[in-house]
């Protein structure tokens, strides 16, 4: 009896290794090695057009980075985007999930509609929203609606006070569908007998939400918060397509900052130091988020 067990254990190890190896190779090639390179280049002065002519500058890049007010601007913008978009998008997603999880006829249509933005490329959506947000009522649909009801048109994307919020709104609209699907899966895992029992005890719909649905979704919520936060920190496409980080740096995010420094201006070593700091920031934020969600347990 012991022998076959041992064999099966050994073969299990072999199988595990066989399954893990391809992923591991890809992770090392496309994640670990580039990360090491990033840290390595971050202590060099490296013009992107001259890869064979790099100079060791110890921590000069980091010193310059921490003195650069554009970097801190980008940091603040990223933080603001994350802090606003995560709760907004997750609450919206949960609300949508609760709405479309019911057994009403035609609910599949709404589920599909809410999920549809996820199936379209972010670049396409950004271009569409740039047109929707256009300040000229003859071009921008939203301003055309505003002016038709007698309101003044708004420079959504070219006013530093509204640009980031406009991006937050469209991002939450685009992203909520995905989290909604995860929430729906979570909702389906809650046994119907709990609701049945609650009904027998005379619980209201709101009480069911607070005492059954939300506790039942606890692990789903943790997961959704974490991935939404990490995605939010990496915001790039929307500012790149819609505003080029402007106006007045209002939508310049950390990833956009790294991109312009590294690729457009060619300060590759400097961009690597910014990327290394960005990595530390994301890890720190994730740990904080984990702390917060753990504390709720």
């Amino acid at each position: 009896m012991a022998d076959p067990n041992r064999i099966s254990k050994r073969s299990e190890h072999v199988a595990a290794a066989a399954f893990v190896t391809p992923t591991l190779i890809l992770l090392i090639a496309f994640l670990v090695v580039p990360m090491i390179y990033t840290i390595y280049f971050s202590i060099y002065r490296y013009q992107i057009m001259r890869p064979n002519d790099i100079t060791f500058v110890d921590i000069q890049n980091y010193i310059k980075l921490f003195k650069d007010k554009d970097f801190w601007h980008a940091f603040r913008n990223t933080l603001y985007f994350t802090v606003v978009v995560v709760p907004v998008q997750c609450t919206l997603a949960l609300a949508l999930a609760l709405l479309v999880a019911s057994k009403t006829r035609g609910v599949a249509f709404f589920r599909t509609m809410y999920f549809a933005p996820q199936l379209t490329s972010m670049v396409v959506i950004s271009i569409l929203w740039t047109i929707l947000y256009n300040s000229n009522p003859s071009t921008g649909l939203i301003n055309s609606l505003l002016t038709s009801i007698g309101l003044e048109s708004v420079n959504f994307l070219s006013n530093p006070r509204t640009a980031m919020n406009s991006i937050i709104f469209m991002s939450a609209w685009q992203g909520a569908g995905y989290q909604m699907m995860i929430f729906i899966a979570g909702l389906q895992a809650i046994p119907a007998s709990h609701y049945e029992a609650a009904s027998v005890d005379g619980a209201t719909g709101f009480q069911k939400l607070i005492y059954i649905t939300l506790p039942g979704l606890k692990s789903t919520i943790k997961y959704v918060l974490m991935i939404t936060m990490i995605q939010a920190m990496k915001l790039f496409t929307q500012p790149y397509v819609m505003t080029k980080g402007g106006p007045q740096n209002a939508t310049k995010t950390l990833v956009y900052y790294i991109y312009t420094e590294g690729f457009q201006e060619g300060n590759f070593g400097y961009a690597c130091s910014a990327a290394a700091v960005f990595f530390v920031i994301v890890v720190t934020m994730s740990l904080i988020m984990k702390r917060i969600t753990m504390a709720k347990d």
Binding site: Q47, A108, L119, S138, N159, R161, P247, N249, E265
Partner: protein, 508 residues
Amino acid sequence: MSYGKGSIRRKVVDNAQENYCALKKEKCGKGSTNNYSCPQDVRGKGVKMKKPLSIALAGIMAMSLTACGGGASAAGSAATSSGGTEGASSTEAKAAADGAVNLTIWSPTDRESVETWWTEKLGEWNAANPDIQVSREAIDRSDSYAYDNKIATAVTSSSLPDIFYVDGPQVSYYAANGIIVPIDDYFSADDMKDFVPSTVAQCTYDGKLYAMSATESSVAFYYNKEMLKDAGVDVEDLDKRTVDNPITWSEMRTIAEKCTTGDHVGTHVIMDHGEGLPYALEPMYISEGKDYINDKGDSAEGFVNSDEAVKTSAFLAQLIADGYANVEPITDEFLNKGCATMIGGSWEVATLTANADFDWGVTYYPVADDTKKAVSPCGDWSAAISKDCKNVEAAGKFMQWLMSTENVATYASAIAKPATRNSSYENETMADYKNFPLSLMVEQLNNTAVPRPRTPSYASFSTKYAEAMTNIFSAAASDHKVDEAYIKEQLDSVAADFTEDYNTYYSK
């Protein structure tokens, strides 16, 4: 094509329906009870809810497939045709004797007529030159900077093609960094005299020729005659202007003011948030008295942040603050009657001729009131030989042919841009350039064109300047007034960033 798309959609839907039926049978087979809280039943309900959803999703995916197919059909056919050449040329290359040189070219993807030009011309070249086989890769340009990013990545991995196209002002940046090699040897003195001076100037760095362009570009002042007449502007006077007597800034401003109505703005000054800003606006600065960068290309201090530059930027910002021009770059705003006039590129002539349903005119680039100095933008994508090219001699020979009078003429005609060689205008494909309005562009190129600053720090400068101007314009639009101190602060930071980039990488 359409049959194929249809069948994909049917297949997807069929599959979804099959799954649906299979699931239904399974559930029926199990035989559901009436017990409400039976977990199996709950799972069944979950599945049931998913079924219509999966069908809908499959439908949406199929729709997006078809939609993509439909939208891309024009580009698709272009890609097929260029793909065809590559296939053809590579088979020819195989058929050719051993030791044949293979050259690769990168250039931005363009309209179908240009893609066809490449297909036909490379076919001709490859048939006539079995020892030098050339193939081209069309690289998506997407916005002003995306193509440059592709080049930057290729530099890092040493995988540059033998020849690549580079936007005029980037020539100095690439040359200073040793990414492209001098090509003086392949152009005779007679050739050089035939090219318009602005092209030669833009492609020259540190006394050597590093690139050559077949096409040029210019920018002029377009106006919608109907809107101007409605606003009481003397259109006939505008029509009669000459290169010695262009309109001034104050005239431009008056026209913009008169033509701003509830339906449209008076003018259009922002091409895009990228290279379009330094490109289209530079003549204003030079006309006022100071270029962005000094002649040597090593200093911006006292140039881009000079009093003259602040005044020029303030003039432009005032148009936006007063609501005479939009703060956002709107594509085809003039064509769609969103604005009465525009500072627009020479390529707009072709677009307007083909699509405009109104009477329009075009006149010379406006000049500063004080100096009346006429200046116009220029510069276009140029071909350069990369440092990674193993056979510079062969590439040079190909470049000679690529920039021949006839090829320049047919290419310029295909891409609807002015040719760089004066002799090319004798070719029948360029006949339109003998007549107004295209003749105006050629006249500007030969008389008033000034290339963008030739400095190795141009890439950094362009990014920072575009950012600063976007900031200045957005502040003007949201405050409805122009703050010169803010303009000065922004331009100071452009100058400081230029100095830093230049000192870090290029000062000796």
